[in-house]
Symmetry: D2
């Protein structure tokens, strides 16, 4: 059986490279088109791209010619790792041309008919695609959340279902790779912590989970009514965002009950055995000093969120630490899982 | 005028070395005795000690002979950087022999008649010395708080006075030097974050500020009635503990009002112009990405706590970032300031 | 076909854990016995061991009971990651009981009848096993070199064969994992470089390659006559030793010629397609800023040595940078490859 | 006595900031003019500059208005921290207008009549100023070497005088601050080493010491005849370049003799007691694991080069480790010392 051809938008960037790496031996998808800025267009991918992941780009992609992002593309399915400065218009235009654009960019995340999707959490939001298609005539955009939000929303989802989440405090310790390349200057982070991340990071963390954990009623998103407070930090770690979380639940639950609910969490990707779905979307760790980015970020091939130190909290009731691999489950990996769900549901054009 | 002779207990350890470094050119105190474990006793300090701070130990101390910690000491004033495994009994014994023991160790911090002192915050707690002296017959112990607590309590003190602090959430990103030497193995922290610190770190942060910010009534400590929740992390930074703080005040106050109160904070050390007192105990930074450990830990020669990102909080009302140099203001420096206050008040034996 | 049962000596240590990780899905070998110090003996492996590699130990090993290192063992093949303070006697005793001890420890490396083996470089040294067996009555010890030496000797081997190596200068930048656990204290290496490594590191680098690159004549090792000068440094990198190398050749060769010879290097493991043999033992990188530990250490699943910046040298003639994954190709991985070669040659008891 | 007014070219850059920091309380010089690119001109320094050193810029400079670099300047003495893309022409023009330009930039270092000056090493090279002045009519340029070269040349100078240096191999481990800001991306250096530095770093290290250690005969520089081979690395350290050095001497000398000569090294700055001159230009450390950047870079307020591990070398005869604070002794600090020597010799216009 031949694979589904896919194109990568922003293929030379940090997220684009992760797409290409994670799709290297994908059972369903095959990268046949790579698009980037005008500066790169016309070159072979291996020349246009400074590969910053381990090793070298897959041979099958290294020889592809880079095109610009306005197409035309023969792939119906396009993954977008475009910079937010250009993603908005480019993605809209390509959806208008009938493509399924599965995007990691922030531009369309909060659009009224665009799913902000984590397949284990809100697969029913895919119904918004039908609304979009009426507008576009066939193509559509599906987005995934901000890298921290993916981890946070996954940890909150089973608690919200079981007990109702009213309020969340979250303090993040975010990895360098979250800023792309060149991102943070080494002189700014060496022997240091930066208690700030630009681009509205805190605002995204405070708003995106409400859409994700909310309902889709009559084709319109009704955000969950929880209050979220986020304080973000950049730390000198290559990959893996750590989050100290505090949660107030509607129906009180102790640490053991919360742990059970988190550990038992499964979703449609696990039922359908999607290729990128980890066996366990959430892994509950019991050692008192876990999760740790270097030791736990690669669980489930980077697709599992680790949760540990679940304990009572004097202020909000429950607290725990969560960890997400920010460029796999938090970016390219979740986008690929989104596309797998689209394919499994027969929603790809 | 001749200087006051002082001795250092635990002189070869991490805190002991900081004592010796900070006292190198002190205008009032002169290190004339250095005590450590049996293993070191009998050697010259330069042989007994593997100096781990920059440069080399001061010549005046390098040639001193190391003694054991049971004395006798001719110095009435003893600084203790002893490990908590031995500090309890040793300090009690020395207070019983008439010494003023100014200790950084945790053992006696919560004792009923021992001040847990930050000179700008609770100098009136020194009245507990009179109670102690009745018990010991002359000597006494004065302790300083845990390194994180020093920074937290200093940031809370002016807010508590002005508005009343009801509840505090604090997430720490703590430096390596807080664990002493050898402390954390490099393989455990390289490219990593550890969401745990042993020795009851979270419990100390949740309890010590209540004593510090509480009252001393009729010779007995009445702890402040605030609730504190702490989640601690070790990060790969040499010096400087960063703390994300969330505060609920009795009387609501906006960020500007809080900033004014914090910036205006002064105490007895500033009034008395004590040698180690910084001009400003708290410096309020307005750049949106500060404080940062590498850039701000040395403000006021490491004795100033930096506070930044003061802003409203959807959960508790007010949030901000605080930074303390954990081995100076958070340990040896605050202990020296404590001793300076004792001397200025005429309380040294 | 059932797998060959193997035991791990020093199974809870840093090298022991790597053995267990790398053998997790090995096609020929299966870990059925784990031995460690008296302190660990009697516990299940998952309790005895603080697993410091990513994730968790394989389930099949986690449940094994830990024994002491004096046996008896039913496995004929034993991998040793023992600390050098005990490895000497333990390994001798087990060889005396008929075991094939494949050791990463330094104790027997320079013994007169013990091969110091890198399968691609000196497989003919295995003939020394016959000499040993006469001594022991059946069992034997095979060692692999020091972690830096593995990388250095592999890079030198093809040059030595083609041109003759007369003199070598090497300056190393070695990773933290080379020191085991706890190894280097984080406070000693944070924001720092240490220009020294204990345990005779420089001496090993200056002597072991001569044995490896030397001949075995009439059952006796005749070391290669090259002069080696090593200056070692510890740097704050998790895995991967970088080496700046300077080489004087008997027959002069330019950078292109050297690169060709290095890139063409293959050995018996490649011919025999041993399970752990990388396709290319040496990969020559042409980008002017490679090899780099984070990007290149995992080439060939950590079994490939990367060489780059091959250029002329005004002093010795030729210079280049080499990189070896110190705990895989430089330790547990090479030992496993050694055992695979023993099995392939029919030398296992 | 009023201070000598000075201007800073490239005042907002990394080197410019160090100039301003080091000149904050200088006894002879006072910063009264700050110049930078067109983008900064017209703003107050505190607005134009993102201060990246600890704390904040001195108040006396923070309020100065930034001008462009083409002047006019009332200060006769100008320190240049200009980027090499513009330094060449700007410095030539300002020398032509009668200024003494004391530059850290590389552009004019190898000019036939421009001293490449380290005051302790080659103060007699200042005679080239007379040659320059004939050309310019009064103004002149004095440069200091590349940051690594300052440390290397200082360590070589006393050996060269005493024994004659024939050949040098040097492998560097260079700090992040050497690349300015933003310099190296954090994602490129985290958990990594980069065996390359752009801008011709190796070539500078291989050529500049020959000019510095050479003679000035009849107004022309005669470079020293030594061969130098350099291999450079960037490591994840904030400040302090470490260098593994190998030296072949004309007249053989053992480690003890070399150590004596290095420790005894003094120069004109020490004789004249120049304000920035350290008591000892070179400090010989005897501990077997020193020098280390974090512990030794600040010796002599960053103006002392530390040398350790002096020992015999099988290849070249002598080897040792040297450490230089790259932005103080290796850049702004040595430039200030150069200007102090100019003033002391009466050479300032």
């Amino acid at each position: 059986m031949s694979k589904i051809p896919v194109g990568i938008l922003g293929a030379t960037g940090a997220v684009g490279q992760r797409f290409i790496q994670l799709l290297a031996d994908h059972p369903w998808f095959e990268v046949v088109e790579v698009a980037a800025s005008d500066r790169s267009a016309g070159k072979a991918y291996r020349e246009a791209c400074t590969w910053r992941l381990a090793g070298a780009p897959p041979e099958s992609v290294a020889g592809l010619g880079v095109t610009t992002c306005d197409g035309p593309f023969r792939s119906k399915l396009l993954f977008s790792g475009l910079d937010s400065s250009v993603a908005g218009e480019v993605e809209t235009a390509l959806a208008g041309k009938g493509h399924a654009v599965v995007s990691n960019s922030r531009n369309h995340r909060m659009d009224a008919d665009v799913p902000l999707l984590i397949p284990e959490v809100n697969p029913d939001h895919l119904e918004a695609i039908a609304v979009q298609r009426k507008r576009t005539g066939g193509g559509y955009i599906v987005t995934n959340p901000n890298c921290s939000v993916v981890g946070l929303a996954m940890a909150l989802a089973p608690l919200h279902r079981a007990f109702g989440v009213e309020a969340v405090g979250v303090v993040t310790l975010q990895a360098l790779s979250g800023a792309g390349h060149p991102g943070v200057a080494s002189m700014d982070i060496a022997d240091n912590v930066i208690p700030f991340i630009g681009g509205g990071e805190e605002e995204k963390i405070e708003s995106e989970p409400c859409k994700i954990l909310g309902a889709l009623r009559d084709g319109a998103f009704a955000p969950a009514g929880m209050t979220i407070s986020a304080s973000v930090h950049r730390v000198d770690v290559t990959d893996g965002h750590t989050m100290a979380c505090f949660v107030r639940l509607q129906r009180k639950a102790g640490p053991e009950e919360a742990a059970r609910v988190l550990a038992a969490f499964r979703g449609e990707p696990q039922e359908r055995k999607l290729p990128s779905a980890p066996e366990r979307p959430i892994e509950v760790l019991t050692a008192n000093d876990r999760p740790q980015p270097r030791l736990d970020r690669d669980r489930g091939k980077g697709m599992t969120v680790s949760v540990g130190r679940i304990r009572s909290d004097a202020l909000l009731g429950l607290r725990f630490e969560a960890l997400v691999h920010n460029t796999i489950r938090g970016a390219a990996g979740v986008a690929i899982l989104n596309a797998e769900l689209l394919q499994a549901r027969g929603l790809l054009p």
